[in-house]
């Protein structure tokens, strides 16, 4: 009879205590080996209990008082994960570390082997000899890209949904009674126009997580959390994620029982600048850069801030102050908003919704921000301010339309030049027609591609092609500039509307509505780190270990 069989559970007698049961079993044990085995099992049980107690004691301070942060970053594939996203993730880690906030990071494919981010070859680097060939076949942007593995330290995992979801769920469960900050810095999309919550996160491996699904996940794990769940989403259509704060993911303005609030770089319906980044300075001018700079108390490059974000001078920059800082300074196509603003816009009753904005703004933070931004952009603050803004908008739109027409015409010319030159080249080198064939492979392996590229560069049409590409690149930048100008005007108009809305809420809002709004404001006005009991390094270790478990 094996030791395992000898340790069969004794029959349970109704009303008999555990000690009596064990005693009766020991009494029945006939050999010494059984007693030794029993002693071993008891020792093992004791060890397990001790280990559990030790783990509980070690993690206890984090579980009761430490707020935590989660960073989910990177695109759905290496080609959508620029190096800048990795640098931003590092910056966020640094900011949160300084604030003493333990962070769990999920980035692209985690620590899997293989390239997951791309970087651009510096403009100073000599042009590749194959560049003429790349230009001819429209691969000039990709030609300057190189891929590598991310270098972020201490990753809890990748962002592929099937891997991320259980880990994130565990984290939500573990922190259900603690404040939690979620930062998402990646790509986003939307799958329909019916509900704002149709917006989704584009996660690694081309997987997605919709706002409504995230809402369900949080509702399941933190349904009545006493501490707030805060978020920052910087992707396209990120405004849809404000629905996390509501009771129903799709409709209504009733807030969820647990407090949730946050900030998004865009509305639920528009693409943020990161999705259509045509400028290298995107990461420098985006909403998230200014938001993070306010929290870091210095610019991304380490220089001193041009404006003090701590408006109430309490020594702590709240997330809302960071939001206002970014609203005022960011010049990008990001049309950022906070949950309280989203709520305010949804709250507006039907009898006020279609009235024009009052020409006399109430004296609140939105009106002050509007005046400050108007002064910054040289907008005269007179009775005609609305009309002046519309005139500006109209001018910018006309300029944008003209630039787009010019770009389209230039693209047609470029395509014509390309086709002529491609025809010439493929007549000489048939294998160029099909780059995924053995013939092409032979061509490439024989170093003939460099000769072909040199031949292309000597053609008179090539100079024209290069000129078209240069002009197109400049036009794209000009278009981006106009789009940013248009967003700036929309931002001013929206600030006026928000100022008016806030005044309307004070006048027309029911007490429970005002309470809901005040709850969101309280949540947004919290500082980055809300107060904690254990050192950052220790807590981060615990947090990373728990997430991995």
């Amino acid at each position: 009879m094996s030791a395992l069989h000898r340790f069969r559970k004794p029959p349970v007698i109704e009303g008999q205590s555990l000690g009596a049961r064990v005693g009766s079993y020991v009494g029945k044990a006939s050999s010494l080996s059984s007693i030794i085995a029993l002693a071993r099992a008891l020792a093992c049980s004791m060890a397990c209990v001790m280990a559990c107690v030790m783990t509980w004691v070690l993690t206890w301070p984090a579980a009761v008082s430490a707020d935590e942060a989660v960073l989910i970053a990177g695109g759905p594939d290496p080609a959508s994960s620029p190096e800048d996203v990795e640098l931003t993730a590092l910056w966020i880690e640094n900011i949160l570390d300084t604030a003493g906030l333990p962070l769990t990071t999920f980035f692209t494919d985690g620590e899997s082997i293989g390239p997951d981010v791309y970087f651009k070859v510096s403009q100073d680097t000599a042009e590749s000899p194959l560049m003429p060939l790349a230009r001819l076949f429209g691969d000039d942007v990709v030609e300057r890209r190189r891929y590598r593995e991310n270098e972020l330290p201490e990753l809890a995992g990748g962002t592929r949904r099937d891997l991320l979801e259980p880990l994130f769920e565990n984290l939500l469960e573990r922190t259900r009674d603690e404040p939690l900050l979620l930062i998402y810095n990646g790509q986003g999309s939307r799958s329909g126009e019916r509900h704002a919550a149709d917006a989704s996160l584009d996660l690694w491996g081309n997987t997605t997580l919709r706002a409504s699904e995230l809402h369900a996940l949080i509702e399941k794990r933190r349904p009545r959390a006493r501490e707030p769940f805060r978020y920052l989403f910087t992707q396209c259509h990120s405004g849809g994620f404000h629905r996390l704060a509501y009771q129903d993911a799709n409709t209504g303005i009733e807030l969820a029982a647990a407090t949730r609030c946050g900030f998004t770089a865009e509305s639920a319906w528009q693409r943020s600048e990161s999705c259509s980044a045509r400028a290298d300075d995107h990461e420098q001018s985006s909403y998230s850069t200014f938001f993070l700079a306010a929290l870091d108390d210095r610019e991304r490059d380490g220089s001193v801030l041009t404006r003090n974000p701590d408006v109430d001078a309490d020594g702590d920059v709240s997330l809302r102050e960071a939001h206002f800082h970014a609203l005022e300074l960011a010049h990008s196509t990001d049309f950022a908003r906070s949950t309280s603003e989203d709520w305010l816009e949804r709250w507006q009753p039907w009898y006020l919704r279609w009235l024009p904005v009052s020409s006399h703004l109430p004296n609140n933070e939105y009106a002050r921000l509007f005046r400050s931004l108007a002064t910054r952009t040289g907008l005269p603050l007179d009775n005609r301010v609305g009309q002046t803004l519309r005139e500006r908008l109209s001018t910018h739109r006309k300029e944008l339309d003209a630039l787009r027409v010019e770009r389209d015409s230039r693209e047609q010319s470029l395509e014509a030049s390309r086709l002529d030159l491609q025809r010439e080249a493929t007549r000489r080198w048939q294998a160029l027609r099909a780059p995924y064939t053995s013939a092409y492979r032979t061509l490439a392996m024989g170093n003939e591609l460099i000769d072909i590229a040199a031949w292309i560069a000597r053609q008179p049409d090539y100079a024209e092609l290069v000129e078209h590409l240069g002009v197109l690149s400049r036009l794209e930048l000009q278009i981006l500039g106009r789009e940013r100008d248009i967003t700036a005007v929309h931002k001013l108009l929206r600030l006026r509307r928000l100022a008016d809305l806030k005044g309307q809420l004070a006048e027309h809002g029911k007490p429970h509505e005002q309470a809901s709004y005040a709850r969101l404001l309280d949540c947004e006005e919290l500082p980055l780190a809300m107060g904690r009991a254990i050192p950052a390094d220790e807590a981060r270790d615990i947090s990373a270990e728990s997430a991995l478990e």
């Binding site: 126009e193 009898y351 919704r353 279609w354 024009p356 020409s359 609305g386 519309r390 929309h490 108009l493």
Partner: protein
């Protein structure tokens, strides 16, 4: 008897037209004034949000304003009964609608000044279908 029935039918028709057009008139007035002042939220929403949302807002307003619209229809009937009897008063027929607009602004809004222009213009706009119905009635002979 026939004349009385025709008159009742006309009153019912007038009520229906004014009540149905009250909300669209309010939205149109708000939009026109907002365009004039440059603060047209609806124009921005048209460009930046799905149009179905704007339409949903409009329909929501139409549903919620049903009671006020019905009362405006009653005002139109009172206006017709009081002012259509004499030619001089008939000329200013529909005047009670913008007046009703201002009454609504002062009674239902906590900040009447912000809503007054829109409601008065809405009343004036509403007087158009009222007068149109009157014109039709006249062309078919007085009810």
């Amino acid at each position: 008897m026939q004349k009385k029935t025709a008159r009742l039918l006309y009153i019912a028709f007038l009520w229906l037209i004014v009540a149905a057009a009250a909300w669209p008139a309010f939205v149109l007035a708000g939009t026109l004034l907002a365009l004039y002042t440059g603060e047209a939220r609806q124009i921005d929403a048209w460009a930046l949000e799905p149009r179905t949302l704007l339409l949903a807002d409009f329909l929501d307003g139409w549903r919620n304003s049903a009671l006020v619209s019905a009362l405006l229809g009653v005002v139109a009937i009172v206006d017709y009964i009081l002012l259509s009897r004499y030619r001089v008063t008939w000329l200013v027929g529909g005047i009670l609608l913008p007046l009703a607009g201002s009454v609504i602004a002062f009674t239902l809004y906590r900040d009447p000044v912000s809503a007054l222009p829109t409601l008065v213009v809405a009343g004036l706009l509403l007087a158009f279908p009222y007068r149109l119905v009157e014109r039709v009635r006249h062309s078919f002979g007085e009810a």
